[in-house]
Symmetry: C2
Subunit: 198 residues, 2 copies
Amino acid sequence: MARIKISKEESRKELIIRSAATLFRKKGFKAASMRSLAEEVGVEASSLYNHIHSKPIILKEICFQVASQFLNEIQKIEESGASTLENVESLIRFHIRQMIENFEKVYVSDREWRYLQEPFLSQFREQRRLYRKRFAQIIQDGIDRGQITQIDPATAVLIMLHAIGGIEAWHRSKNKISGRELEENMVAILINGLKMKI
Amino acid sequence: MARIKISKEESRKELIIRSAATLFRKKGFKAASMRSLAEEVGVEASSLYNHIHSKPIILKEICFQVASQFLNEIQKIEESGASTLENVESLIRFHIRQMIENFEKVYVSDREWRYLQEPFLSQFREQRRLYRKRFAQIIQDGIDRGQITQIDPATAVLIMLHAIGGIEAWHRSKNKISGRELEENMVAILINGLKMKI
DNA sequence: CCTACCGATCGGTAGG
DNA sequence: CCTACCGATCGGTAGG
Protein backbone atom coordinates (compact mmCIF):
# COMPACT_ATOMS: atom_id res chain seq x y z
CA MET A 1 0.00 0.00 0.00
CA ALA A 2 2.88 2.35 0.73
CA ARG A 3 4.27 1.44 -2.66
CA ILE A 4 1.01 2.26 -4.40
CA LYS A 5 0.76 5.58 -2.62
CA ILE A 6 4.30 6.51 -3.63
CA SER A 7 3.79 5.59 -7.25
CA LYS A 8 0.57 7.64 -7.32
CA GLU A 9 2.43 10.57 -5.83
CA GLU A 10 5.18 10.22 -8.39
CA SER A 11 2.86 10.20 -11.39
CA ARG A 12 0.89 13.15 -9.99
CA LYS A 13 4.12 15.08 -9.65
CA GLU A 14 5.16 14.19 -13.17
CA LEU A 15 1.75 15.27 -14.48
CA ILE A 16 2.23 18.63 -12.78
CA ILE A 17 5.71 19.00 -14.25
CA ARG A 18 4.56 18.12 -17.73
CA SER A 19 1.65 20.54 -17.51
CA ALA A 20 3.99 23.20 -16.18
CA ALA A 21 6.37 22.68 -19.11
CA THR A 22 3.52 23.29 -21.55
CA LEU A 23 2.34 26.33 -19.63
CA PHE A 24 5.83 27.82 -19.24
CA ARG A 25 6.41 27.40 -22.95
CA LYS A 26 3.12 29.04 -23.92
CA LYS A 27 3.13 31.93 -21.46
CA GLY A 28 6.72 32.18 -20.25
CA PHE A 29 7.78 31.27 -16.73
CA LYS A 30 6.92 34.60 -15.11
CA ALA A 31 3.58 35.02 -16.84
CA ALA A 32 2.44 31.49 -16.04
CA SER A 33 0.64 31.49 -12.71
CA MET A 34 0.36 28.63 -10.26
CA ARG A 35 -3.40 29.17 -10.39
CA SER A 36 -3.50 28.51 -14.13
CA LEU A 37 -1.29 25.47 -13.64
CA ALA A 38 -3.71 24.19 -10.98
CA GLU A 39 -6.59 24.69 -13.39
CA GLU A 40 -4.78 22.69 -16.04
CA VAL A 41 -4.16 19.88 -13.58
CA GLY A 42 -7.70 20.06 -12.22
CA VAL A 43 -7.10 21.02 -8.57
CA GLU A 44 -6.95 24.16 -6.45
CA ALA A 45 -3.68 26.09 -6.48
CA SER A 46 -2.85 25.25 -2.88
CA SER A 47 -3.15 21.54 -3.60
CA LEU A 48 -0.22 21.65 -5.97
CA TYR A 49 2.07 22.16 -2.99
CA ASN A 50 1.39 18.64 -1.75
CA HIS A 51 3.34 17.43 -4.78
CA ILE A 52 5.88 20.12 -5.58
CA HIS A 53 7.88 22.54 -3.47
CA SER A 54 7.58 25.75 -5.40
CA LYS A 55 7.30 27.24 -8.85
CA PRO A 56 11.05 27.71 -9.37
CA ILE A 57 11.69 24.13 -8.29
CA ILE A 58 9.39 22.89 -11.04
CA LEU A 59 11.54 24.82 -13.49
CA LYS A 60 14.64 23.32 -11.96
CA GLU A 61 13.30 19.80 -12.48
CA ILE A 62 12.52 20.51 -16.12
CA CYS A 63 15.89 22.10 -16.87
CA PHE A 64 18.00 19.45 -15.17
CA GLN A 65 15.98 16.60 -16.65
CA VAL A 66 16.69 17.93 -20.13
CA ALA A 67 20.31 18.75 -19.38
CA SER A 68 21.04 15.23 -18.19
CA GLN A 69 19.59 13.75 -21.37
CA PHE A 70 21.91 15.81 -23.51
CA LEU A 71 24.91 15.08 -21.30
CA ASN A 72 24.20 11.34 -21.58
CA GLU A 73 23.99 11.58 -25.34
CA ILE A 74 27.20 13.52 -25.85
CA GLN A 75 28.97 11.03 -23.57
CA LYS A 76 27.80 8.16 -25.78
CA ILE A 77 28.87 9.97 -28.91
CA GLU A 78 32.31 10.85 -27.57
CA GLU A 79 32.86 7.17 -26.84
CA SER A 80 31.47 5.93 -30.16
CA GLY A 81 34.75 5.92 -32.08
CA ALA A 82 32.98 7.19 -35.19
CA SER A 83 34.45 9.86 -37.46
CA THR A 84 34.10 13.49 -36.39
CA LEU A 85 31.61 14.48 -39.03
CA GLU A 86 29.46 11.49 -38.10
CA ASN A 87 29.63 12.56 -34.48
CA VAL A 88 28.53 16.09 -35.28
CA GLU A 89 25.70 14.72 -37.38
CA SER A 90 24.58 12.34 -34.62
CA LEU A 91 24.52 15.11 -32.08
CA ILE A 92 22.63 17.45 -34.38
CA ARG A 93 20.08 14.74 -35.13
CA PHE A 94 19.63 14.09 -31.43
CA HIS A 95 19.01 17.78 -30.81
CA ILE A 96 16.53 17.98 -33.65
CA ARG A 97 14.61 14.93 -32.48
CA GLN A 98 14.50 16.11 -28.89
CA MET A 99 13.19 19.44 -30.11
CA ILE A 100 10.47 17.66 -32.09
CA GLU A 101 9.50 14.88 -29.68
CA ASN A 102 10.22 16.39 -26.28
CA PHE A 103 9.40 19.91 -27.37
CA GLU A 104 7.82 21.49 -24.29
CA LYS A 105 10.55 20.59 -21.83
CA VAL A 106 13.44 21.17 -24.21
CA TYR A 107 12.09 24.54 -25.21
CA VAL A 108 11.53 25.61 -21.60
CA SER A 109 15.00 24.44 -20.61
CA ASP A 110 16.40 26.43 -23.53
CA ARG A 111 14.51 29.67 -23.09
CA GLU A 112 13.38 29.97 -19.49
CA TRP A 113 16.41 28.73 -17.53
CA ARG A 114 17.34 32.28 -16.57
CA TYR A 115 14.50 32.23 -14.01
CA LEU A 116 16.22 29.43 -12.11
CA GLN A 117 17.10 30.26 -8.50
CA GLU A 118 20.55 29.93 -7.04
CA PRO A 119 22.32 27.62 -6.61
CA PHE A 120 20.56 25.96 -9.55
CA LEU A 121 21.14 28.88 -11.87
CA SER A 122 24.91 28.63 -11.48
CA GLN A 123 24.86 24.86 -11.71
CA PHE A 124 22.82 24.94 -14.88
CA ARG A 125 25.03 27.58 -16.47
CA GLU A 126 28.06 25.48 -15.68
CA GLN A 127 26.56 22.32 -17.18
CA ARG A 128 25.65 24.26 -20.27
CA ARG A 129 29.10 25.77 -20.58
CA LEU A 130 30.77 22.37 -20.30
CA TYR A 131 28.36 20.80 -22.77
CA ARG A 132 29.10 23.46 -25.35
CA LYS A 133 32.80 23.09 -24.74
CA ARG A 134 32.59 19.37 -25.43
CA PHE A 135 30.53 20.02 -28.55
CA ALA A 136 33.12 22.57 -29.68
CA GLN A 137 35.88 20.03 -29.05
CA ILE A 138 34.24 17.57 -31.43
CA ILE A 139 34.23 20.28 -34.07
CA GLN A 140 37.83 21.21 -33.30
CA ASP A 141 38.79 17.56 -33.87
CA GLY A 142 37.11 17.74 -37.25
CA ILE A 143 39.10 20.84 -38.16
CA ASP A 144 42.36 19.22 -37.03
CA ARG A 145 41.63 16.20 -39.22
CA GLY A 146 40.71 18.34 -42.21
CA GLN A 147 37.10 17.18 -42.30
CA ILE A 148 35.68 20.51 -41.22
CA THR A 149 36.39 23.90 -42.71
CA GLN A 150 38.52 26.42 -40.81
CA ILE A 151 36.01 28.16 -38.51
CA ASP A 152 35.73 29.20 -34.91
CA PRO A 153 34.33 26.08 -33.16
CA ALA A 154 32.45 28.09 -30.53
CA THR A 155 30.68 30.04 -33.26
CA ALA A 156 29.79 26.84 -35.05
CA VAL A 157 28.24 25.42 -31.86
CA LEU A 158 26.32 28.63 -31.35
CA ILE A 159 24.88 28.42 -34.84
CA MET A 160 23.99 24.74 -34.57
CA LEU A 161 22.21 25.01 -31.24
CA HIS A 162 20.28 28.13 -32.06
CA ALA A 163 19.36 27.00 -35.54
CA ILE A 164 17.84 23.90 -34.00
CA GLY A 165 16.02 26.06 -31.44
CA GLY A 166 14.25 27.48 -34.48
CA ILE A 167 12.18 24.33 -34.66
CA GLU A 168 9.93 26.21 -32.27
CA ALA A 169 8.73 28.21 -35.30
CA TRP A 170 8.09 24.97 -37.17
CA HIS A 171 5.85 23.73 -34.35
CA ARG A 172 3.82 26.91 -34.52
CA SER A 173 3.46 27.02 -38.30
CA LYS A 174 0.62 25.57 -40.30
CA ASN A 175 1.47 23.71 -43.50
CA LYS A 176 4.46 22.15 -41.80
CA ILE A 177 6.73 19.85 -43.73
CA SER A 178 7.05 16.51 -41.90
CA GLY A 179 9.39 16.03 -38.95
CA ARG A 180 11.46 13.69 -41.05
CA GLU A 181 11.82 16.22 -43.87
CA LEU A 182 12.62 18.95 -41.38
CA GLU A 183 15.39 16.86 -39.90
CA GLU A 184 16.92 16.05 -43.29
CA ASN A 185 16.78 19.66 -44.44
CA MET A 186 18.38 20.97 -41.29
CA VAL A 187 21.10 18.36 -41.30
CA ALA A 188 21.80 19.04 -44.96
CA ILE A 189 22.26 22.77 -44.49
CA LEU A 190 24.18 22.58 -41.22
CA ILE A 191 26.53 19.74 -42.12
CA ASN A 192 27.10 21.13 -45.57
CA GLY A 193 28.04 24.42 -43.95
CA LEU A 194 30.76 22.74 -41.91
CA LYS A 195 32.33 20.58 -44.60
CA MET A 196 35.65 21.44 -46.19
CA LYS A 197 35.26 23.31 -49.43
CA ILE A 198 36.85 21.26 -52.19
CA MET B 1 9.53 77.38 -26.86
CA ALA B 2 6.90 74.81 -27.79
CA ARG B 3 9.47 73.27 -30.10
CA ILE B 4 12.05 72.97 -27.34
CA LYS B 5 9.53 71.40 -25.02
CA ILE B 6 8.52 68.85 -27.63
CA SER B 7 12.08 67.87 -28.43
CA LYS B 8 12.82 67.43 -24.72
CA GLU B 9 9.74 65.24 -24.39
CA GLU B 10 10.82 63.17 -27.36
CA SER B 11 14.30 62.47 -26.07
CA ARG B 12 12.95 61.62 -22.61
CA LYS B 13 10.59 59.14 -24.22
CA GLU B 14 13.39 57.62 -26.26
CA LEU B 15 15.55 57.33 -23.13
CA ILE B 16 12.73 55.43 -21.43
CA ILE B 17 12.32 53.14 -24.42
CA ARG B 18 16.03 52.43 -24.65
CA SER B 19 16.22 51.71 -20.92
CA ALA B 20 13.16 49.50 -21.21
CA ALA B 21 14.77 47.51 -24.05
CA THR B 22 17.79 46.80 -21.87
CA LEU B 23 15.61 45.86 -18.92
CA PHE B 24 13.25 43.67 -20.97
CA ARG B 25 16.24 41.85 -22.41
CA LYS B 26 17.85 41.26 -19.03
CA LYS B 27 14.76 40.29 -17.04
CA GLY B 28 12.15 39.43 -19.63
CA PHE B 29 9.09 41.58 -20.28
CA LYS B 30 6.92 40.17 -17.51
CA ALA B 31 9.63 40.13 -14.87
CA ALA B 32 10.73 43.70 -15.61
CA SER B 33 8.72 46.08 -13.44
CA MET B 34 7.85 49.68 -14.18
CA ARG B 35 9.35 50.53 -10.80
CA SER B 36 12.74 49.12 -11.82
CA LEU B 37 12.48 50.95 -15.13
CA ALA B 38 11.78 54.17 -13.25
CA GLU B 39 14.82 53.58 -11.08
CA GLU B 40 16.97 53.10 -14.17
CA VAL B 41 15.67 56.34 -15.64
CA GLY B 42 15.98 58.16 -12.33
CA VAL B 43 12.36 59.12 -11.59
CA GLU B 44 9.40 57.74 -9.66
CA ALA B 45 7.34 55.04 -11.38
CA SER B 46 4.31 57.28 -11.76
CA SER B 47 6.36 59.90 -13.60
CA LEU B 48 7.03 57.52 -16.47
CA TYR B 49 3.41 57.86 -17.49
CA ASN B 50 3.92 61.45 -18.49
CA HIS B 51 6.04 60.14 -21.37
CA ILE B 52 4.66 56.72 -22.24
CA HIS B 53 1.17 55.23 -22.22
CA SER B 54 1.76 51.83 -20.69
CA LYS B 55 4.22 49.00 -20.37
CA PRO B 56 2.88 47.01 -23.35
CA ILE B 57 2.99 50.13 -25.53
CA ILE B 58 6.71 50.48 -24.82
CA LEU B 59 7.12 46.93 -26.09
CA LYS B 60 5.08 47.79 -29.15
CA GLU B 61 7.35 50.73 -29.96
CA ILE B 62 10.44 48.56 -29.68
CA CYS B 63 9.06 45.73 -31.81
CA PHE B 64 7.70 47.91 -34.60
CA GLN B 65 10.81 50.08 -34.71
CA VAL B 66 12.92 46.98 -35.29
CA ALA B 67 10.46 45.42 -37.73
CA SER B 68 10.42 48.51 -39.93
CA GLN B 69 14.21 48.53 -40.15
CA PHE B 70 14.25 44.97 -41.43
CA LEU B 71 11.40 45.62 -43.84
CA ASN B 72 13.27 48.62 -45.27
CA GLU B 73 16.40 46.56 -45.72
CA ILE B 74 14.76 43.62 -47.49
CA GLN B 75 13.00 46.10 -49.78
CA LYS B 76 16.37 47.61 -50.76
CA ILE B 77 17.86 44.18 -51.35
CA GLU B 78 14.97 42.95 -53.47
CA GLU B 79 15.44 46.00 -55.70
CA SER B 80 19.24 45.72 -55.87
CA GLY B 81 19.42 43.53 -58.98
CA ALA B 82 22.31 41.55 -57.47
CA SER B 83 22.60 37.79 -57.75
CA THR B 84 20.57 35.66 -55.36
CA LEU B 85 23.46 34.41 -53.31
CA GLU B 86 24.68 37.98 -52.89
CA ASN B 87 21.22 38.99 -51.75
CA VAL B 88 21.09 36.24 -49.16
CA GLU B 89 24.52 37.23 -47.94
CA SER B 90 23.58 40.92 -47.70
CA LEU B 91 20.50 40.11 -45.70
CA ILE B 92 22.37 37.80 -43.35
CA ARG B 93 25.05 40.41 -42.81
CA PHE B 94 22.41 43.01 -42.03
CA HIS B 95 20.84 40.68 -39.47
CA ILE B 96 24.19 39.95 -37.88
CA ARG B 97 25.14 43.61 -37.62
CA GLN B 98 21.78 44.60 -36.20
CA MET B 99 22.16 41.85 -33.63
CA ILE B 100 25.59 43.19 -32.70
CA GLU B 101 25.01 46.93 -32.85
CA ASN B 102 21.33 47.28 -31.97
CA PHE B 103 21.32 44.28 -29.69
CA GLU B 104 18.88 45.23 -26.92
CA LYS B 105 16.00 46.23 -29.16
CA VAL B 106 16.52 43.52 -31.74
CA TYR B 107 16.71 40.85 -29.07
CA VAL B 108 13.57 42.10 -27.33
CA SER B 109 11.70 42.29 -30.61
CA ASP B 110 12.79 38.72 -31.34
CA ARG B 111 12.07 37.10 -27.98
CA GLU B 112 9.46 39.16 -26.17
CA TRP B 113 7.00 40.06 -28.94
CA ARG B 114 4.53 37.48 -27.66
CA TYR B 115 3.65 39.87 -24.82
CA LEU B 116 2.34 42.40 -27.32
CA GLN B 117 -1.33 43.32 -26.88
CA GLU B 118 -3.91 43.09 -29.62
CA PRO B 119 -4.18 44.48 -32.21
CA PHE B 120 -0.40 44.87 -32.21
CA LEU B 121 0.24 41.18 -31.64
CA SER B 122 -1.61 40.22 -34.82
CA GLN B 123 -0.05 43.04 -36.79
CA PHE B 124 3.43 42.08 -35.68
CA ARG B 125 2.85 38.40 -36.45
CA GLU B 126 1.65 39.34 -39.92
CA GLN B 127 4.68 41.56 -40.62
CA ARG B 128 6.94 38.78 -39.47
CA ARG B 129 5.18 36.20 -41.63
CA LEU B 130 5.44 38.39 -44.71
CA TYR B 131 9.09 39.18 -44.03
CA ARG B 132 9.97 35.51 -43.79
CA LYS B 133 8.00 34.79 -46.91
CA ARG B 134 10.01 37.39 -48.82
CA PHE B 135 13.25 35.99 -47.41
CA ALA B 136 12.15 32.48 -48.47
CA GLN B 137 11.36 33.80 -51.94
CA ILE B 138 14.93 35.04 -52.35
CA ILE B 139 16.15 31.57 -51.47
CA GLN B 140 13.63 29.95 -53.81
CA ASP B 141 14.99 32.13 -56.63
CA GLY B 142 18.46 30.82 -55.80
CA ILE B 143 17.25 27.24 -56.02
CA ASP B 144 15.50 27.90 -59.34
CA ARG B 145 18.71 29.36 -60.76
CA GLY B 146 20.81 26.47 -59.48
CA GLN B 147 22.85 28.63 -57.11
CA ILE B 148 21.36 27.13 -53.98
CA THR B 149 21.06 23.47 -53.09
CA GLN B 150 17.67 21.76 -53.18
CA ILE B 151 16.22 22.50 -49.73
CA ASP B 152 12.97 23.69 -48.23
CA PRO B 153 13.25 27.51 -48.35
CA ALA B 154 11.15 28.02 -45.20
CA THR B 155 13.47 25.72 -43.27
CA ALA B 156 16.48 27.59 -44.56
CA VAL B 157 15.02 30.90 -43.38
CA LEU B 158 14.27 29.38 -39.99
CA ILE B 159 17.85 28.24 -39.64
CA MET B 160 19.32 31.56 -40.75
CA LEU B 161 17.23 33.72 -38.46
CA HIS B 162 17.61 31.57 -35.40
CA ALA B 163 21.31 30.97 -35.93
CA ILE B 164 21.78 34.73 -35.96
CA GLY B 165 19.66 35.01 -32.81
CA GLY B 166 22.43 32.96 -31.22
CA ILE B 167 24.60 36.07 -31.17
CA GLU B 168 22.89 36.65 -27.84
CA ALA B 169 25.20 33.96 -26.42
CA TRP B 170 28.18 35.72 -27.95
CA HIS B 171 27.24 38.96 -26.18
CA ARG B 172 27.10 37.15 -22.86
CA SER B 173 30.35 35.23 -23.26
CA LYS B 174 33.74 36.34 -22.08
CA ASN B 175 36.70 35.78 -24.38
CA LYS B 176 34.59 36.82 -27.35
CA ILE B 177 36.03 36.75 -30.81
CA SER B 178 35.60 40.18 -32.43
CA GLY B 179 32.33 41.25 -34.04
CA ARG B 180 34.03 41.22 -37.41
CA GLU B 181 35.30 37.67 -36.95
CA LEU B 182 31.91 36.56 -35.70
CA GLU B 183 30.26 37.97 -38.79
CA GLU B 184 32.71 36.28 -41.15
CA ASN B 185 32.43 32.93 -39.40
CA MET B 186 28.65 32.99 -39.40
CA VAL B 187 28.44 34.03 -43.03
CA ALA B 188 30.93 31.33 -43.99
CA ILE B 189 28.99 28.53 -42.34
CA LEU B 190 25.53 29.67 -43.37
CA ILE B 191 26.30 30.56 -46.98
CA ASN B 192 28.42 27.48 -47.44
CA GLY B 193 25.48 25.44 -46.17
CA LEU B 194 23.23 26.82 -48.87
CA LYS B 195 25.55 26.52 -51.83
CA MET B 196 25.15 23.83 -54.46
CA LYS B 197 27.31 20.83 -53.84
CA ILE B 198 29.64 20.39 -56.79
C1' DC C 1 -7.37 17.81 -1.54
C1' DC C 2 -10.04 22.19 -0.05
C1' DT C 3 -11.29 26.79 2.30
C1' DA C 4 -9.56 30.77 3.90
C1' DC C 5 -6.21 33.83 3.90
C1' DC C 6 -1.51 36.50 4.02
C1' DG C 7 2.04 39.82 2.68
C1' DA C 8 4.27 41.40 -1.38
C1' DT C 9 4.24 43.32 -5.63
C1' DC C 10 2.27 44.66 -9.74
C1' DG C 11 0.54 48.38 -13.47
C1' DG C 12 -1.56 52.37 -13.28
C1' DT C 13 -4.42 56.82 -11.65
C1' DA C 14 -5.72 61.16 -8.99
C1' DG C 15 -4.40 65.29 -7.73
C1' DG C 16 -1.29 68.73 -7.17
C1' DC D 1 7.76 65.33 -11.59
C1' DC D 2 6.10 63.67 -6.81
C1' DT D 3 3.05 61.77 -2.90
C1' DA D 4 -0.43 58.89 -1.96
C1' DC D 5 -2.97 55.33 -3.15
C1' DC D 6 -6.05 51.63 -5.67
C1' DG D 7 -7.65 47.08 -7.14
C1' DA D 8 -5.79 42.94 -8.99
C1' DT D 9 -2.95 39.27 -8.83
C1' DC D 10 0.85 36.81 -7.36
C1' DG D 11 3.34 32.62 -4.73
C1' DG D 12 2.67 30.35 -0.88
C1' DT D 13 0.94 28.76 4.13
C1' DA D 14 -2.25 27.25 8.00
C1' DG D 15 -5.33 24.22 9.33
C1' DG D 16 -8.34 20.71 8.66
